[in-house]
Amino acid sequence: MPMKIGEKQFFDRIEDALQDDFMRHAMASAQDRLRGKKLAATEGDKTIGDWEEWRSAGEEIRRHTLENLDFYLDQLSENFAERGGHVYFAETAEDANRYIQDVARKKNAKHVTKSKSMVTEEIGLNEALEEIGCHVHETDLAEYILQLDDKDRPSHIVVPSLHKNKEQIRDTFKTKVGYMGTEEPRELTAFARSQLRDVFMEADIGITGCNFAIAESGSLSLATNEGNLNMVTTFPKTQITVMGMERLVPTWEEMDVLINLLSRSAVGQKITTYVTNLTPGVEEDCVDAPKEFHLVILDAGRSRALGTEFQSALHCIRCAACVNVCPVYRHIGGHAYGSIYQGPIGAVLSPILGGYEEYGELPFASSLCAACTEACPVKIPLHEQLIRHRENYVKEKGRVKASEKAAMKAFGIGASTPSLFQIAVKGAPIFMKPFIQDGSISKIPGPMKPWTEIRKFPSPGKDNFRTWFKEHQKGRQ
């Protein structure tokens, strides 16, 4: 399954989300907890000094890296290959999948284990591998839950199964894999551990995403908590890592800064439980490490942002701090975005990667409150980019609806013709009378429909401003 989630239209997806009380409650509660933990580990942790300094350091590193992206990717690939690893530069998702399928065929792979990776979700890698007969095992707990539940889709970049409660998870485990226990998270987790233990050992290929590749040594830095990534990259003979082309740093020293920003911003930890840094070139007689390494570096639309006002969107380190403060995400959840990248960064990235035709409405799913920009650990001006997207969507692509155009034209005529304007202002209370109940409007057709479905609209006053002002002036005389 690629980047897109579901087939419904944007407003229909929102409607579905607004009807899902559990999901909305779960999103609000998760946001509060994640935001609280992040604040404690950033502004609240005086040990690390001024958090703004860290943000500036992150911004500085990401800007330099992206401005010199071709150089650092060249360096990364040469250093990775120098140590015996293979590198494939994939322009499209299809190219990446084809290459990985070829590797799997050559290895005669039957079982593949995977750690959590949004980029492999983006390219629909699981389906591509299943096409050629591989059994793909998601091993991150959240991804394992989603895969068992008829391949449900992620609703959050960092905690993909956020929309599911423990009872739903218990029922999924019962139906799909014969679980007999309770809904206690500890018990559910222990069950997942027992189910996957042997799978890890027997897998032919381990597949990972990439938090940061390190150009100077051809290394891959991966931040996790569950230990599954270490299992995935320890026991199979072949390791394949897929990375978005922007996910790299020049040296180990920059990795340090960015891992700190990521751990603290994503999950409020000083460091994730595991920060595992892997470099090809393992000794031949080493028993517990892969012998063959493949690195797939993916463009898939990212280069469209280079040299444009959206270049800094590629600075993103996928911490979801912007998602965790977004008031819109809080109410509509992740699936309503229709993309595996949700929240403010999803609304910025998805149109870049997937185009305006598919994702052009997402930048409108924002109150432009700028909380996202303030939360971003690498200072991406997210709300400004949302505005740029809106401008592009409307102006450059000419996507204004015919009804909206007609309405604006009518308003233009009315507002520039005093007599018509007076009629409209005076007539509003009369025209709206059929829709008024208890002093407000709760249902109205036409362009105001989406508004009145969610909240009441105030009824027009009997007096308009001009009349009031005339009376006011008389009173003063």
């Binding site: 998760a30 040990t47 000094g49 350091a57 590193i61 010199n68 992206l69 071709d70 150089f71 690939s77 040469e78 120098e82 140590r83 293979h86 590198v87 494939y88 530069f89 994939a90 322009e91 991150d140 905690v159 199964s161 956020l162 409660n165 423990k166 998270p185 500890r186 997942a192 233990r197 040594s217 908590n225 569950e226 230990g227 270490n230 299992m231 320890t234 026991f235 040296t251 020293e253 340090d256 891992i259 460091i271 439980t273 595991y274 920060v275 595992t276 840094n277 892997l278 470099t279 090809p280 070139g281 393992v282 007689d285 080493c286 028993v287 517990d288 490490a289 469209r304 280079l306 040299g307």
Partner: protein, 233 residues
Amino acid sequence: MAKGIIQNKDSFLNNIADKLERKRKEDVSLPTWKHQPQWQVYKNESTDGLMAAFQKNSTERNVDVYETQQSELSVTIEKIINEYGGDSIVITKDSRFSEYGLTSLFDTTQTHIWDTAAGKENIEKAKHADIGVFFSDKSLAESGTIVQFNDKDIARSVSLLPITYIAIVPKSTIVPRMTQVTHEIHKLVENGKEIPTCVNFISGPSNSADIEMDIVVGVHGPVKAVYVVVADR
């Protein structure tokens, strides 16, 4: 070692340069960063201060921390093994076990010492071991983290597969934070030296908050973690 194959590099990178509206860059100097807050963390902190921070932050990560002298190390570890129920043990192949006087402690039938000659049997032993024991190569005060520079002898499985791991932390390995370790590795690269193929920063037992944000300790990696800080010889 034969060089790996690189495919589609030039067209891919040329496209990036085109989009950036310039020619491909052949050389780039890393700037001196204006912002370097990482070096200020625990700057000028004493060894005891770093130790205190390491202990506090490790405890926060659900790690049981013990402090001992080298003369007491063997006895201390033996006690911990008994307390945690270590019927079967796996340890890395590391000369430090003998340097710290631990050879006789682990010279028992219940202990498996990692040995590449035994092949996959090592993994089976680790998989069924109650406790894995190894040395921390670097230890981070800021986050209660131990670091392993893994290779064929300092096997990854020892800290990963058993239910409990015991990391022996020589006091001199404690540094303020990740910065000092990554700086050292960067210097190795810069000087054309080899670096470990797996540098693993580990902070306590594995955990997950994927189900309703409720933290569960012990997922696919160890369920319990013990650090034994030992004053240097």
